[in-house]
Symmetry: C2
Subunit: 336 residues, 2 copies
């Protein structure tokens, strides 16, 4: 993943530098390149899974990894556009151990800079002026639409009492799967791959995304705050209907029923914001007892397997296949 | 303009129908197709200048007006994406005589549906899958970036004491000129026009946009609320540094100086929100006395002339040229 970051970051920074002030500064803060006072920072730029996939996918076609760089940058821009807007919509105050953009620079800048990054993503691709870039931009647009659909589902599910496991998987496929699918194929598309190859790489990325999100959902409840940069029981505090929760509710049995009663009462509670650590810990224990934790861990492995199998449909050099496999392995064992 | 609306609206509605619920409903409310309770409405869909320009520009190349329709729809989608986000950023509660989306459906839906319309704009073009569509998408992306730059300038100017006439024109060129430039050329690009033709049509549209905005700035102060759908003295209430204001402040002389003192005091006033009609009327009278109203009206005519002249560089059928001219004439005489 280091290679994806090393190749993509300078081009990403150059793209962000094109933004007019103060958007360039706000974006630089978001990416962790400067702190809230404008001083240079060496921030945690995230896991860089997406750029790694994009440059790797270029090599599927025999092209140099550099061919995938505009795709890597475009995907990172779309990903970060969605983070800026989602953090504001969800009222999330922290990301990657730092205050979110809307907290530091205000809601208007979060909206505006998100918009600018989204536009920049298309610019970075379309200015290549090639047929391949047009195809890449089209796939990126499809992925962006899925991302937005997923956020719409996420918001609407928060207002509902019950969400099925299928609905949750569909939402996570939109929010996480679609853009990882695009990342996994965009370098290949830029390298001239045919649609069949690109589609197979998208299938790999989509299921990798579902595995990624299942692990994220586990970390959102049982993750180490030091590693994740989020609060303890982060997803429970936000009443997020994540996979472990919906799987536990769907499982049936005494723990599942008790959990259902508690969460229904929580939804009506005006005191929820003041709940203690122990109260969240009790809910996490019930989710685990009802089988939600085990089911989600198994789901991550299941999606990992489907992702790896999708690679079989694509001819590629052995070292490239090994790296796709290693990236998938990383996604399911990561702690942050 | 009726033709642009008639050709583009069904395709626009079909595009918006692709949005997942509840985004389709929120967007339909924004476009005036339904009311806040979801009942069908025959809302004021705006002036439809942009779709008219887009379908007309297709005919420059000898193509059928229908060739410009995906461009008309894409431009309308970008325009409305920016309205949704700008209304939220600016805290505007009314548009086209109706409550804005964030007032009715909340800030999150305004952000989300804006994002969705922006993505849909690219989708509508890129799914054509042609080289021309890729070129059109690139021009639309450039225009979108300008639009966002203009909104950034607009926001930052509101926090400043003084804005020069040049800065105001640059901001208005970004906010209004760029997308009208794109609308005026996108049909031609889809019809296979070369870059020189497209650039000349963009010049027409850009200056038409500046004329349009100068008229908008006049209507924002002296417009009839019944016609514009805005409050009386709308731009003054928002302390907008629009063209009449900055021109009046730059003019020098007693009225200009008095206006400067009053606006500087207003900027610090905590009671500004409770100002009476008479207080705004007095400010408007000073702007007029300092020459801001006349200067802006003259600027509208000047930009109109540049726009018409840009058409000379392009070969096109006479009826097409006449319609471009009629559209430019409409823009400077309109009352809403």
């Amino acid at each position: 993943m280091e290679r994806g970051r090393t190749l993509a970051t300078p081009v990403l920074r150059a793209a962000v530098d094109r933004l007019a002030p103060p958007m360039d500064t706000v974006a630089a803060y978001h990416f962790g390149w400067i702190d809230a006072h404008g001083r240079p920072a060496d921030g945690d730029g995230g896991k860089a899974v997406r750029p790694a996939l994009a440059v790797l996918s270029a090599e599927v076609t025999g092209a140099a990894p550099e061919t995938g760089v505009p795709g890597a940058v475009a995907v990172e821009l779309v990903h970060n556009f969605s983070l800026l807007h989602d953090d504001l919509m969800d009222g999330d105050e922290q990301r990657r151990h730092r205050d979110t953009v809307w907290k530091v620079h205000g809601p208007a800048q979060a909206i505006l800079v998100g918009d600018a990054l989204f536009a920049l993503a298309n610019e970075v691709l379309l200015e290549l002026g090639t047929v391949e870039a047009g195809r890449a931009a089209r796939r990126l647009t499809t992925a962006s639409r899925s991302l937005i659909d997923g956020q719409a589902q996420d918001i609407s599910y928060e207002h509902r009492d019950r969400v099925s496991v299928e609905e949750c998987l569909e939402m996570e496929g939109n929010k996480t799967g679609a853009l990882l699918a695009c990342a996994s194929s965009i370098g290949a598309v830029l390298g001239g791959a045919d649609d069949r190859t690109a589609d197979a790489l998208e299938t790999y990325g989509y299921h990798l995304g579902l595995a990624f999100q299942a692990v994220d959902d586990l970390l959102g409840i049982w993750g180490d705050p030091e590693a994740t940069g989020k609060q303890t029981w982060s997803d429970l505090r936000q009443r997020k209907k994540s996979l472990p929760v919906v799987a536990a509710l769907a499982a049936g049995g005494p723990a599942s029923e008790r959990l259902g009663e508690i969460l229904a009462a929580d939804a009506k509670s005006s005191d929820f914001a003041n709940f203690s650590e122990e109260e969240f810990a009790a809910r996490a224990a019930l989710i685990e007892e009802a089988g939600g934790r085990d089911w989600t861990a198994e789901e991550a492995r299941r999606q990992h397997t489907i992702a790896i199998e999708a690679l079989h449909a694509v001819d590629m050099p052995d070292p490239v296949r090994e790296q796709f496999t290693a990236l998938a392995d990383f996604v399911v064992v990561r702690k942050r």
